[in-house]
């Protein structure tokens, strides 16, 4: 399915959820454009402030935020319709989970916008906010488009998923993935800037440049995650070079420090939800199988993600790590989120995982842990310990 189809709201035979999702996509496209315009306007405002002139108002910024709220509302309507269409909390198939993820991206962006309050600090900081907003809008669009390649067939909930833990466990994890994903996006932008700064401004060793480039290119799904950001940042730097407005080393350092703090705050919002989501899964497993931790590969992948963030927070708080090293660990966390969320099915120990509910064509094995012995039970009479009921 091509990109245009993901934006076609006039097609016949669409389910209500699909229709509203396409409306969300259109809004995200518009929102991304508005965020870019807001960023350009903030750039001019910053120059005006530096020149001692009146900065004026930035209507684009407010409009982008309004579209963010609108997209949030419309995608919620889509999810609501999906819940009606499938008769349960819509997180059973990967397409449903990804829509929840894109919705969480919008929620996280809204939360972070108000938590970070970057616009209040200054126009330069507001550009970071605008850039993040544009990337999030495009991320939502890309995620929603990707769901069109997956089956949207209704699937009934297997018994183990019919639990009150289902919605909070999934919601907490997906919200944390979205928030930590945004922190990861900041890391990618950071390293993309670092790379192009090295190319256009200099001051970086060839070895470190190669390491950064390899890191950006070799992560899974780089073609839809890091390449566009790398190219977009490269274009910005090229434009600045042509305009002879490349930032000085001091400005770059200030920007990097800003991004470091922004990423930490995004992390601070996401980590409690990741912790809660991870352990809510354990509470649920305890109720379903009296086994709070089964060392299932999905559980382990999520635990690895959590541990990476534990390392990050220790290095940052106790070791005083900032900048590249801290960002690299944070980016590693985001990569682990991605592996857990999307690549998990390829990992060797995932083949027999109890968590493959979202895979198309895979029968969940939950509740059937002893299935292989049922044949045995047919062949072998259980021991009789009393005869009262004979």
């Amino acid at each position: 399915m091509n990109w245009i189809t993901s934006l076609d709201v006039t097609a016949d035979g669409l389910l209500a959820s699909t229709l509203w999702l396409r409306v969300t996509n259109v809004l995200c496209l518009v929102g991304a454009g508005l965020a870019v315009l807001a960023g350009l306007r903030h750039l001019r405002q910053r120059k005006a402030v530096q020149a001692g002139r009146e900065a004026g108002r930035n209507l684009w910024s407010g409009s982008a935020l309004l579209v963010l709220g609108l997209a949030l509302l419309v995608e919620f309507i889509s999810i609501w319709n999906r819940a009606v269409e499938v008769n349960h909390f819509p997180s059973q198939t990967m397409s449903e989970v990804l829509v929840m993820f894109s919705f969480s991206l919008l929620v996280s962006m809204l939360v972070l916008h108000f938590a970070l309050k970057l616009e209040r600090i200054g126009h330069g900081w507001a550009i970071v906010d605008d850039a993040l907003l544009a990337v999030v809008f495009l991320g939502v669009l890309a995620t929603n488009h990707y769901t069109t390649t997956l089956s949207t067939a209704q699937r009934d909930l297997p018994p183990a998923l019919q639990s009150y833990w289902f919605a909070p466990h999934l919601s907490a994890l997906i919200f944390s993935y979205a928030t930590l994903g945004i922190a990861g996006l900041v890391c990618i932008i950071y390293f993309a800037m670092r790379f192009w700064s090295g190319v256009f401004v200099g001051g970086k060793s060839v070895g470190s440049q190669l390491v950064v480039l390899a890191g950006l290119c070799l992560i899974p799904f780089a073609q839809i995650v890091t390449f566009p950001i790398l190219i977009a940042v490269g274009i910005v730097f090229l434009a600045l070079k042509l305009l002879d407005s490349l930032p000085a080393a001091k400005e770059m350092a200030a920007t990097e420090k800003t991004m470091d703090q922004v990423s930490y705050r995004a992390f601070s919002v996401g980590i409690p939800f990741l912790t809660a989501g991870l352990f809510m899964g354990a509470f649920w497993a305890q109720e379903a199988w009296a086994n709070y931790w089964g060392w299932d590969s999905k559980e382990n992948s999520a635990l690895i993600t959590w541990l990476i963030y534990v390392i990050y927070v220790h290095l940052r708080m106790l070791g005083g790590y900032r900048g590249e090293k801290a960002m690299a660990v944070l980016g590693g966390g985001a990569l682990s989120v991605f592996l857990t969320f999307q690549i998990f099915g390829y990992l060797p120990d995932s083949q027999k995982s109890l968590h493959r509910y979202t895979d198309d064509g895979v029968t969940p094995t939950e509740g059937m842990q002893g299935q292989r012995v049922s044949d045995e039970s047919a062949r072998r009479e259980p021991a009789v310990v009393g005869d009262e009921r004979r």
Binding site: R46, F279, A282, L318, Q369, P382
Partner: protein, 979 residues
């Protein structure tokens, strides 16, 4: 980013690292990158090997060279001692000497045993003051492997203790050492452990000041978390032995080696006949690793096979989309494309594994020897977690207690305390946990033994017994709509299954709306659903000549074994209305007439043509070869002896069939004492010989109505890519003599397969063989026939007891079917249906005969839910079992996500057998660590929330208050504060 705003003015939620700590532990990056001079003036160079060696040299107070030599000697001595221990151990326990894992790790254990006392003697008073990641990781790895050795040494004691504890309560803990001594003896192993303990205690005493410093180092904390992360990651990257198996289970390397030699001789072509458990583990291992590595080598999908759909398939999809909706069509297309590409990819992965077989095998050997395929159960992992716990403990209780509860520290204190509780609970679980399965049947005596770790050879006793009072499985209510027009007949794949719930709309059969768009011709809405439905004799309305939508129909009174019932036999295709049988299967009876049968294969004017005589034909097979052909299921005739070529170069031969399967008797083919045509129709099945394009062969039994894929057993087949379902043809297959009620100009007649015709007279018994009496009470040439289905209200739940769930009768649904909705020609039909074929209450044919609906409980997939009601029994002095009053059924009911607990044992619903509706598999868990772990987890969550969400808000508020106070103070005070 200099726009006149100072970034440092942002209120930072994170703490600034402690200045003293910053300078002591983490110097500035520029300093950190410089070589750290060691105690002997030699740079550490950041390498863990040299760092650890130097640490050892410092610690021992001897030169670097001597320390290395000393370590080699210690290693050799330790290995020798451990080997000796192993020999004694072999003599005592009969354990195999050739197990490389035992030798390796007993050697490491021996190294630790010898190294510890010597180190404790040589330990100098001064301690190392410079740590970095390299040296810390080296030291931690050494300690971890030491811990593994200790774990390997104490393992037999522990297993014995666990076995002694079974059912013995707390006092068993006190008894087991004496029991061990009396039954097994002390032995060299016990002596070695005592030696270790005796050496460790003084060592710990001498290090009492250094250990806290070590464990409180940031390097140690981060390194431990990193090592834990890597250990867990290792378990993800190396397929683990089944997680629900015995935690003591290991791969039998000897059997593996023997089998592999045979495998190697065959050129890796054919698996050896003596399949061992280890071999199955290896097969799973190489597939999982091959699958992973193949994808790793094809990043972004580059080089992976991609298949398209042929024009014919596209045409089929278009028809499917018109009938069942565009979303259904898109989903079907995605599945087909994935299946095509998937099949080719599976072949490529297979070839990849084949090319690299020796490497996979060596990696498997290595993983087994180092216990990477039982990572989380290994002693080294426990040792690592113990170190982690120690480090957390040292860091949590640091400083004065009142500091722990300050807003700055409370969050961290809570998180760390929670982690400690969690790890403690985990250790407690590891020490005590036992899992297994308890097989219960309705109406069977209570059971007090279960299969430990799902292994029938490991029966475990409980101090009480359990019986099964109720058990039921409830499936999802579902609807299938099959179109009967010519266009739909071209579809070879199954119609989609719609799960029903109240209010669900289903729109089907898209037609041109006259305005360039599409509109649904059929709209179905679920008006009501009930767990109980009553089916009474149908309402029959005779139609006049020329009125469409009527069926020929016979109302019959059937008397069998003293019971009389009314049966309606409509003249529709027999796959829509199954034949009537008697209990002894003496005859089969259907109704048919010429020219009006909707859904009939073809219109037959000659009644004798309704008696197909296809030698060997027994029914239909629905075969799908994943990734070959169009990837969709196709219906084929199941004819004995017939070989069919399947897409992708596969072939399938129907070898044998039975109408009465007995899994104990019929293994590779039917061993039924009666010929096929005389077998009672109780459990039809066929045996197929499947051959793959690569020569792989498989004999597979396929039972009617049971899908291996839906049961999760598909992967266990040799040719797992072939999915097969089987439907016995109740009319066409060999069996009892067949009879037909036939309407013609001469009226209604009974026609035998022999051609004999008997006019039907109302009230007169039909001349059929056997004991069943069949008397026609009415016949209709053209009538509408709607089963009288009434949905019964749910039984009021008493104390939360949902008795309806255990109701075994039919369920009901009321559908509102609208034809041509939204147009002037719209007609609406309210259709009550029940999930039983009594009076054909589960089917409804549209008035225009364009489609038929079938309502059923979908047992082809996981059910809606399973539930069991358990009864606990305690043993009486007389030895009998007495029921324990634990309240009404709801208090004793278990289901998935809701277990039952008694005397520390937890029972949860885990298993069922579709072929045995009275069987319930109950998971048994004894794990006293669960509440401890849960408390730990809740504490960690609370701590994280306090640290990252509450603390910054409180601190920011304090900061604002402080600023406000400052603003009110005189300028002088403000100036002082600023300064």
């Amino acid at each position: 980013m200099d726009d006149g705003t100072n970034p440092s003015s942002m209120t930072s939620p994170e703490p600034t690292p402690h200045p003293a700590k910053e300078s002591r532990v983490t110097p500035e990056p520029s300093n950190r990158s410089a070589p750290d001079p060691g105690a002997y003036g030699r740079p550490l160079e950041g390498r863990w090997v040299s760092g650890t060696a130097l640490w050892a040299a410092e610690t021992c107070g001897v030169s670097l060279v001597l320390a290395r030599v000393g370590f080699v000697l210690l290693a050799l001595g330790g290995l020798a001692l451990a080997t000796a221990v192993l020999i004694f151990d072999t003599a005592l326990f009969g354990a195999p000497l050739s197990d490389p894992a035992r030798i390796t790790f007993a050697g490491l254990g021996g190294l630790g045993i010898l190294a510890y006392p010597m180190l404790s003697l040589l330990l100098p008073s001064r301690a190392r003051s410079h740590w970095d990641f390299g040296s810390v990781v080296g030291a931690l790895l050494l300690l971890t492997f030491l811990g593994h050795g200790i774990g390997a040494l104490i393992q037999p004691y522990w297993e014995f203790a666990k076995a002694a504890r079974q059912g013995g309560g707390a006092s068993a803990w006190l008894r087991w050492p004496a029991a061990y001594q009396s039954e097994v003896g002390f032995g060299a192993r016990g002596f070695a452990i005592l030696l270790f303990v005796a050496a460790t205690l003084p060592l710990v005493w001498m290090l009492r000041r250094e250990l806290p410093k070590f464990f409180r180092s940031m390097y140690v904390g981060v390194s431990l978390v990193t090592l834990s992360l890597l250990a867990i990651g290792l378990g993800v990257l190396v397929p683990q032995i089944d997680g629900f198996e015995d935690p003591t289970a290991r791969v039998d390397m000897e059997a593996e080696y023997r089998d592999f030699q045979a495998f190697q001789r065959d050129g890796y072509q054919k698996l050896p006949a003596s399949l061992q458990d280890g071999h199955e583990q290896y097969q799973a291992f190489r597939w999982a690793e091959g699958y992973f590595l193949y994808h790793l080598l094809h990043l972004y999908g580059i080089g992976m096979p991609k298949e398209g759909l042929t024009p014919r398939m596209q045409e089929g999809l278009e028809v499917f989309g018109k009938k069942y909706g565009l979303e259904e069509r898109d989903n079907r297309e995605k599945q087909m494309l994935a299946a095509f590409s998937g099949r080719e990819k599976v072949n490529e992965i297979g070839a990849f594994i084949h090319r690299n077989e020796p490497a996979f095998w060596r990696f498997f050997q290595l993983s087994t020897a180092l216990e990477w395929n039982r990572t989380y159960k290994s002693a080294w992992f426990t040792a690592l977690m113990t170190l982690l716990f120690t480090a957390i403990a040292f860091n949590t209780f640091k400083g004065k207690p009142r500091q722990w509860f300050s807003i700055h520290k409370f969050g961290y204190f809570t998180v760390h305390t929670g982690m400690m509780i969690l790890l403690l609970g985990g250790f407690w679980s590891k020490l005590h946990t036992d899992r297994g399965i308890l097989h219960l049947h309705l109406d069977m005596p209570p059971q007090d033994t279960y299969w430990g770790h799902y292994d029938p050879a490991k029966e475990r006793s409980m101090p009480f017994a359990l019986g099964l009072d109720h058990f039921a499985r409830q499936d999802w209510p579902s609807l299938e709509v099959q179109f009967l027009d010519d266009e739909a007949q071209s579809l070879t794949s199954r119609p989609p299954t719609h799960t029903l719930w109240k209010g669900r709309p289903i729109e089907l059969d898209l037609v041109d709306d006259g305005a360039g768009g599409l509109r649904p011709r059929v709209r179905i809405e679920v008006v009501d659903l009930s767990d109980r439905a009553q089916v009474r004799r149908p309402v029959v309305r005779e139609l006049g000549a020329g009125q469409p939508g009527g069926l020929a129909l016979a109302a019959l009174v059937v008397a069998d074994a003293g019971r009389e019932r009314e049966v309606y036999l409509p003249a529709v295709a027999y796959d829509l209305s199954p034949p009537i049988y008697d209990a002894d299967h003496s005859f089969r009876l259907v109704a048919m007439n010429a020219g009006v049968a909707p859904g009939g294969d073809e219109m037959q004017d000659d009644p004798l043509q309704w008696f197909p005589s296809l030698p060997g034909y027994v029914g239909g097979l629905e075969v799908r070869v994943v990734g070959a052909g169009d990837g969709a299921p196709h219906t084929l005739a199941a004819t004995l002896g017939q070989t069919t070529e399947l897409p992708g170069g596969y072939s399938m031969t129907v070898v044998d069939a039975t109408a009465d399967l007995d899994v104990k008797r019929d293994k590779r083919r039917s061993a039924h004492p009666l010929p096929l045509e005389e077998q009672p129709l109780r459990g039809p099945a066929v045996w197929l010989d499947l051959v793959g394009p690569d020569g792989r062969e498989e004999r597979r039994a396929v039972v009617q109505g049971i899908s291996a894929k839906d049961l999760g057993a598909q992967a266990s087949f040799t040719l797992a890519e072939i999915e097969v379902r089987f439907d016995w043809d109740e009319w066409g297959a060999p069996g009892a003599p067949r009879y037909l009620l036939w309407w013609s100009d001469a009226g209604c007649e009974l026609i035998a397969e022999t051609g004999e015709r008997t006019p039907v007279e109302l009230g007169t018994e039909l001349p059929l063989p056997g004991n069943m009496v069949v008397r026609p009470s009415a016949t209709y040439e053209s009538a509408t026939f709607v089963a009288d289905v009434t949905l019964l209200p749910p039984v009021e739940a008493v104390d939360g007891w949902d008795a309806d769930f255990y109701h075994r009768g039919a369920r009901g649904v009321v559908l509102e079917v609208t034809l041509d909705p939204g147009t002037a020609a719209a007609t609406t039909h309210v259709v009550p249906m029940a999930s039983t074929d009594e009076f054909n209450a589960d089917r409804w044919v549209a008035p225009d005969s364009s489609f038929v609906m079938r309502f059923f409980e979908n047992d082809r997939m996981l059910p809606f839910e399973w539930r069991s009601v358990l009864q606990v029994y305690e043993q009486e002095d007389s030895g009998g079992w007495k029921p324990v009053d634990l309240g009404p059924e709801p208090a004793r009911e278990i289901r998935v996500n809701d277990y039952f607990k008694y005397k520390g044992y937890r029972f949860f619903q885990t298993n069922a057998n579709p072929e045995d509706p009275a069987y319930s598999g109950i998971g048994v868990v004894y794990d006293p660590g669960i509440p401890i772990v849960l408390v730990g987890m809740y504490t960690v969550i609370a701590g994280t929330v306090i640290t990252f969400l509450i603390r910054p808000i409180v601190l920011a508020r304090r900061e604002r208050r402080k600023l406000a106070t400052l603003a009110r103070k005189p300028a002088k005070a403000a100036a002082e504060t600023t300064a």
